[in-house]
């Protein structure tokens, strides 16, 4: 690894750690009802929303009512987003006169944004009107993220409270998340992004002259199957799609959602024009998830618990970044065989630069590819499909761990806390003690809920992948044969079930089978995990405090952090290893194995 690459990666981790505590303290105060600084400005808005909606902010909810509110809110958002897409031709801000989306595609997109997945089976700049992008997609980027944060808050209260049946008020958590956390950060970050050259406009497109006239060649296949270039068009100008991209991109990354304004996400120069904007977007999509670990520690009364969890997340993330970087820097043997010079010199970065932006290079692409799959954002700055098999494997693993390595804001930490409970339970079994965590005895019901929350994602992912691999319609969407094609299906469903939303590309998923099936996978991957998590929160909140004896397992020590990492990697590894062996591992062996 070059010094330049090392510095870029180290700088990211340093900034992330620096921002963790201040943001964590701020968010803890927001959820405790005393937001610092902004309450004078936004307090009247908050109270106005409660009055307008007839909400009583002091009213608390039991877990089932909390879960019902979450489901109803999401169902309403899904119907609204579906209608917006189907009727966009009759709504304002449609300068390109886009027509309605097909029903199955609108259904998939509505499920995708409501579940914070933001899987995009469409091209944003060629399908969605500005109104749909702003009122539908950008709004859901915030609202779906806020519901994840609400679930986390219920879980934290469950651990922090003693002998109480309630876990908070869903609507209050939702409003506070959007008003005090997401909106202020989005406004500031959007302005910084615009300062770097990201597009923010209500125009549909602009025509711009080329610097040099060129020939646009259209290859035409001849009758004998040969490829001819016989249809040449002289071109002097091009039409470039623009729109309100900067605001959506920030909302996308802040909410770890991932639905870019343009289909190419952060690889598109209008979304992320400079290395500085790339760094900003990377920080924006990770910083809240990191800050929440401190919020967690503060709210449960022991900040060391949060640091222990964050250390596990960052170590696994750093490992992932290192492996992807080394794999990409080593290059692709098939490209070398073509006589392409892939050596690193003063003039070029070397390695596997296919699918990577030259302005970002290998280090930044490795960093973003890993972080954006680890955080459930799914907004890469390069082509995931062009990663080497091992690079692609790491991005798959980051998702298959359950999006707990930082993860989506709220959902990532919820998943990690559940893994902590599993780690405590397993260690309790090994030493023959009743498992306890933060002064609460873990009983069979809690472990059942934790197990359901962990098992839903792999079951849904593997079942859907198997179904697609066995059917003609599923296999027909693959553009690459062999193990890589299987990886594309596996990546697609892993991304959907984990609410990540990034794609390997190479999978032509905009058809009835993938749109409807994928929507169901996304909905199950979201709500069938949120419900047992809330049930767990309700159960934990009802428990009284027990006396913590000297024999209790300390959960803030480096030893426990290592144990947690082992449990996390073991669960993900054991579940997905066979599938990974059929995809990226087989592809790696085919690429690098000795020819016989």
């Amino acid at each position: 690894m070059t010094l330049n690459a090392l510095l870029q990666i180290a700088l990211f981790f340093a900034f992330l750690l620096l921002l963790t505590k201040p943001l964590g303290v701020y968010m803890a105060r927001v959820y405790e009802g005393r937001p610092p600084g902004l309450s004078a400005l936004l307090g009247p808005f908050e109270r106005g929303i409660y009055r307008l909606c007839g909400l009583r902010s002091e009213e608390e909810m039991e877990w089932k009512r909390y879960a019902t509110s979450l489901i109803l809110f999401s169902a309403f958002g899904m119907v609204l987003l579906y209608v917006l897409q189907r009727c966009q031709q009759s709504l304002p801000l449609n300068p390109q006169h886009f027509g309605p989306l097909r029903s199955d595609l609108a259904f998939n997109t509505a499920a995708s944004y409501v579940t914070n997945t933001n899987w995009q089976a469409y091209g944003g700049e060629s399908t969605m009107s500005h109104f749909t992008q702003m009122a539908g997609l950008t709004a859901q980027n915030f609202m779906a993220a806020a519901t994840s944060m609400a679930v986390l808050m219920a879980l934290i209260r469950g651990l922090a409270r003693r002998g109480i049946r309630t876990v908070g008020n869903f609507w209050v958590d939702l409003v506070r998340t959007i008003l005090y956390i997401l909106l202020p950060l989005a406004v500031v970050s959007s302005l910084v992004l615009v300062s770097q050259g990201a597009v923010q406009s209500l125009e549909g497109s602009v025509a711009t002259p080329w610097l040099q006239s060129t020939i646009d060649a259209h290859p035409v296949t001849g009758p004998g199957g040969q490829s001819n270039v016989n249809d040449r068009v002289e071109g002097t100008e091009q039409v470039v799609a623009v729109g309100p991209a900067a605001s959506q991109v920030i909302a996308r990354d802040l909410g770890t959602s991932g639905g870019g304004f343009f289909n190419a996400n952060s690889a598109h120069p209008f979304e992320s024009p400079t290395p500085l904007s790339d760094f900003l977007l990377l920080l924006v999509q990770t910083v809240l998830a990191a800050g929440l670990t401190y919020t967690y520690g503060k709210m449960v009364g022991d900040t060391r618990q949060g640091w222990a969890i964050l250390s596990v997340m960052l170590v696994v993330l750093a490992l992932g970044v290192g492996i992807v970087h080394q794999s990409e820097a080593a290059g692709n043997p098939h490209i070398s065989e073509l006589g392409v010079d892939v050596a690193m010199t003063d003039q070029q970065t070397g390695g596997n630069m296919e699918g990577k932006e030259v302005r970002f290079g290998i280090a930044r692409t490795a960093l973003v590819a890993t972080a954006t799959t680890a955080t459930s954002t799914g907004a890469p700055n390069g082509m995931q499909d062009s990663l080497t098999p091992i690079g692609g494997l790491v991005t798959l693993v980051m998702m298959q761990l359950g999006e707990v390595i930082l993860g989506g804001i709220g959902s990532g930490l919820s998943g990690m806390v559940i893994l902590v409970l599993i780690a405590v339970f397993i260690s309790g079994l090994m030493i023959g003690r009743t498992p306890e965590y933060l002064g609460k005895k873990l009983e069979p019901y809690d472990i059942k809920m934790a197990s359901i929350a962990i098992l839903v994602m792999p079951i849904v992912t593997l079942a859907a992948t198997a179904l697609a691999s066995m059917t003609d319609v599923g296999r027909g969407a693959i553009l690459n044969p062999g193990p890589h094609g299987f990886s594309e299906i596996l990546y697609g469903y892993t991304s959907m079930a984990n609410n990540n939303g990034s794609t390997f590309a190479g999978l032509n998923a905009n058809n009835l089978f993938y749109n409807v099936g994928g929507a169901l996978v996304m909905l199950m991957g979201r709500f069938w995990i949120a419900i047992p998590t809330l049930a767990l929160a309700g159960s934990l909140a009802r428990k009284p405090t027990i006396y913590v004896s000297a024999g209790a397992l300390p959960t803030h020590t480096p030893m426990f952090a290592i144990w947690l990492m082992v449990v996390t990697l073991s669960i993900g590894g054991m579940t997905f290893l066979p599938a990974l062996a059929l995809g990226p591992v087989a592809e790696h062996l085919l690429n690098f194995g000795s020819p016989q």
Binding site: D104, W528, A535
Partner: protein, 31 residues
């Protein structure tokens, strides 16, 4: 796309999904 087919299908699918979520919630309570 045939709306006469799709609109009721979407509505039905929505009801089924909500019902499944509710049943799942009840199951989590009772397990």
């Amino acid at each position: 796309m045939n709306l006469v087919l799709w609109l009721p299908a979407m509505f039905f699918l929505g009801i089924v999904l909500m019902g499944l979520c509710y049943l799942f919630m009840e199951a989590c309570e009772k397990i």
